[in-house]
């Protein structure tokens, strides 16, 4: 399966294909486009990727998560190109025997993809301006998710 998609992601279809008799728990995370950011109205996003490297890195991240949490299945698909409000920018699905592993692995995958994989968000605002997205700010003290720990090294 390709991890970078130029067409809309239909996660319900992915979820249906994902069913596995060994999985008592399946977690689906969908990253969706908000209509606002930092107090400004957002009209849409456009994503760009260094696709060969993004494919390779997402494959490695899924393999690592599958091994670490003994997952039965793991899927991650990220959009490139324009994505409208409420559109799905990324989906991560993890399936395992029990829910703890499925939840933890799902969080691990989305965090690593957001922070490490060469994919970039271009935000377009209602006032006609646009801005390239910055790196995940969830490690900043003011962010509600500050408590989670990145397991990778930002400094290269």
């Amino acid at each position: 399966m390709k991890h970078i998609s130029h067409t809309p992601i239909y996660y319900a279809d992915l979820f249906s294909d994902f069913r596995d008799p060994n999985s008592g728990a399946v977690v689906l995370f969908s990253g969706e486009v908000r209509d606002n950011n930092k107090g400004k109205a957002v009209t849409h996003l456009e994503y760009e990727a260094y696709e060969p490297m993004a494919e390779k890195m997402i494959t490695e991240i899924l393999e690592t998560a599958t091994l670490k949490w003994q997952l039965n299945k793991a899927v991650c698909v990220h959009r490139v190109g324009p994505v409208s409000i409420c559109g799905c920018a990324i989906v991560v699905i993890t399936g395992s025997g029990h829910r703890a592993a499925a939840y933890e692995a799902n969080r691990y995958i989305i965090d690593r993809v957001k922070n490490e994989v060469p994919i970039w968000k271009h935000e377009f605002f209602a006032d006609g301006t646009s801005e390239w997205g910055q790196n995940c700010d969830c490690s900043s003290p003011s962010h509600p998710d500050h408590q989670h720990k990145h397991e990778h090294n930002h400094a290269e």
């Binding site: 990253g31 760009e48 260094y50 060969p52």
Partner: protein, 82 residues
């Protein structure tokens, strides 16, 4: 003898450079010299270049590592997917 290196820029870097930049270096040279050369071309890009990583053959390389061939280089700004 100088080698010609193709450098690909992504995302926010394209505010400062074309998507493809051609640089000439006498090899071997540390990859960080690519960033330094680009800063000279456009000093307004210093801040973003300082936050970028370098990839060769679909893998990240250390800035201090030596570039010994004319493989294309990819300048990777901080990720903002998801």
């Amino acid at each position: 003898m100088e080698s010609t290196i193709q450098v690909t820029c992504f995302a926010g870097l394209q505010k400062f450079f074309q998507s493809q930049v051609t640089l000439n270096f006498k090899l071997p040279v540390a990859y960080e010299n690519v960033l330094e050369e680009m800063k000279k071309i456009n000093p307004e890009a210093i801040e973003i270049l300082d936050s970028c990583r370098i990839a060769v053959c679909e893998s990240f390389v250390s800035r201090k590592a030596l570039m010994t061939s004319d493989e294309p280089i990819f300048i990777i700004p901080p990720s903002s997917g998801g």
